[in-house]
Subunit: 356 residues, 2 copies
């Protein structure tokens, strides 16, 4: 493999000194970019875009051609694992993801097993190695997976949800059944991320998009516990470097201390938690990634720059900050605003890093 | 007016001693009750149900006939004020509320004014006095309003939203324009709640359903600031008693200390915050209302009872707890489970209150 030309992102995740704060954007390969929409049109539909390594590689690289980003992230869907489990993933226009066969009964749960990473999910590993080669050492490549709880919400609800009634009914009425689902998923996610690392991913992020809909005790038992198992089962060294793990629970700002105790290297933050307050809570245990409200990118340049400055100042002159949005970039954002954002992070952050 | 036979709810909101912890349920008059569905069918549609005092009174009283609830809450819609502002509220089946004329431009904002409480919103006051008479002093009646920020989200988005892109674009791009909207709304909500109090409401709750989608600084500036103005403008005494104010920001668990500093008597809590932790933060400044996950009501009796016990123990032997769900009761809950919940609160809480 080619030597890494820019390793700021990996260094910041391990709380090592950097010259400027590294930055990337969740969903940076996405619909706000006209070139993404063009590639997606060529691919036909969203799943075809994910399943073709050349298309997935192309959209992964698109934002890096426009912006001075410090990391690339594998372009893929969050629901590849349940899809590989045979639940029949499909997308209805404007409706989000759906499963033909939701997991509701004991028989449904008994039928679940860890998919084969090279067979059922080989297309993902193929995309990882294709992207890694194409990056040519410019910046590191992030692999990712949904958390077991988050994947389970889609599998049990049969798609997106507002009240999570099926999974919560199972959680409160038949907790053992839900634990069975989550155990299979934790094993699957561990194997999935390790396969991505073997294929070339240099850091991994666990997206717990829906952990924040739980009470504190249920979050610990049904989401965090399984993420911790994954962290413990991951390959943490590859190609002579540490492979950092980022754990992101949206709306998880009240549970940062327990998240930091899992052994993850970094925690993702949404914008509802002040990053300085988060840092006070986790101290030097973990790095922090975040956390500008993606809606700030609807504003004019001075507002974007001021908000970047506010977050940098709130984090302060410490190691261990990766700048990001608090959630995925919105599809209606002007691509020019993303450039203002990325450049502002680099320009304004040098003052917080000792020049050695 | 008849003397109040059960004032536990009002006493607990003012952190006065009670014999058992009072309990009510957000959305207790609702679709989970077959008798509600029957009355709604008689009324024709949802808005007709809200606008006819006899129907509104009937559905308000229905849950009190089934359960030993310690308070009634006015049955009404959260969007009565924007409707009275002439924005054209309507409901599409399965789609939630919509406005024919969303507020987007400076001209739209300039056209907004505080509606007349006796004319445009007289039907709400009529419902309040009708319900108050029908209650005959059994339990207190709660009036309510959406918060300015929450009302503004519907007015500016034109309905429900997932990413709040129009209002957030206005917030970051044209904050003065949004402040103008929120100022009119704060005046309108103050007048609206005062009119409800004059008509017989004995406590009021401000529902800030969407304050939790903001960053900390934006929450302070665009939601909490206007709720504080309302609290300061409210009639706090009526019929020789204090009229307590409850402030509820869903997903506001990180901001309880600033909420407690507004002068509200009580804070509503969703289930993502531990009530004992919340109490540690706010001390004796305010009472707390909450906070069981409504999804617990999908479980069997022992689980419901255990969860009630856990929350009571977490709050501990202090004055100032009103038990509630952390959000509205779900439509698919078995009405029998709500009875198990309400009875469990009364039965298990006596031990936490000194018997004088």
């Amino acid at each position: 493999m080619t030597a890494l030309k820019n390793d700021r992102f990996l260094r910041a995740l391990l709380r090592q000194p950097v010259d400027v704060t590294p930055v990337w954007m969740m969903r940076q390969a996405g619909r706000y970019l006209p070139e993404y929409r063009a590639t997606r049109a060529d691919a036909g539909d969203f799943l075809s875009l994910c399943k073709n390594a050349d298309f997935a590689c192309e959209v992964t690289l698109q934002p890096l051609r426009r912006y001075e980003l410090d990391a690339a992230i594998l372009f893929s869907d969050i629901l590849t694992i349940p899809d590989a489990m045979g639940l029949g993933l499909y997308f209805e226009t404007g409706e989000g993801p759906k499963f033909e066969r939701p997991v509701r009964t004991e028989a449904d749960v008994d039928a679940l097993s860890v998919p084969d990473m090279n067979d059922d999910l080989g297309y993902v590993m193929n995309a990882v190695s294709t992207i890694r080669n194409a990056l040519n050492g410019d910046v590191p490549l992030i692999g990712f997976s949904g958390s077991p709880w988050t994947l389970a919400t889609y599998m049990i609800e049969g798609g997106s949800s507002k009240d999570f009634r099926h999974i919560k009914a199972m959680m409160y009425k038949s907790p053992a059944l839900l634990h069975q689902v989550l155990t299979v998923l934790a094993d699957a996610v561990t194997a999935y991320l390790n396969a991505q690392i073997a294929a070339g991913a240099q850091a991994v992020q666990i997206f717990d998009t829906w952990g924040g809909v739980l009470s504190g005790p249920c979050y610990q038992t049904f989401s965090l516990h399984y993420m911790q198992r994954i962290v413990q089962g991951l390959t943490r060294q590859a190609e002579g470097r540490q492979v950092p793990v980022i754990m992101f629970t949206k709306n998880g700002g009240q549970w940062l201390q327990s998240m930091a105790a899992t052994g993850a290297d970094a925690l993702g933050l949404d914008w509802t938690t002040e990053i300085g307050h988060a840092r006070d809570q986790v101290g030097d245990q973990v790095a922090l990634q975040g956390n500008m409200d993606p809606s700030v990118l609807y504003a004019d340049a001075p507002v974007i720059e001021a908000e970047v400055g506010r977050i940098l100042a709130d984090f302060g002159a410490h190691d261990g900050h990766v700048f990001n949005l608090g959630h995925g970039i919105h599809q209606f954002v002007d691509p020019e605003s993303a450039k203002i954002f990325v450049d502002a992070v680099h320009e304004q952050s040098a003052q917080y890093h000792a020049q050695s």
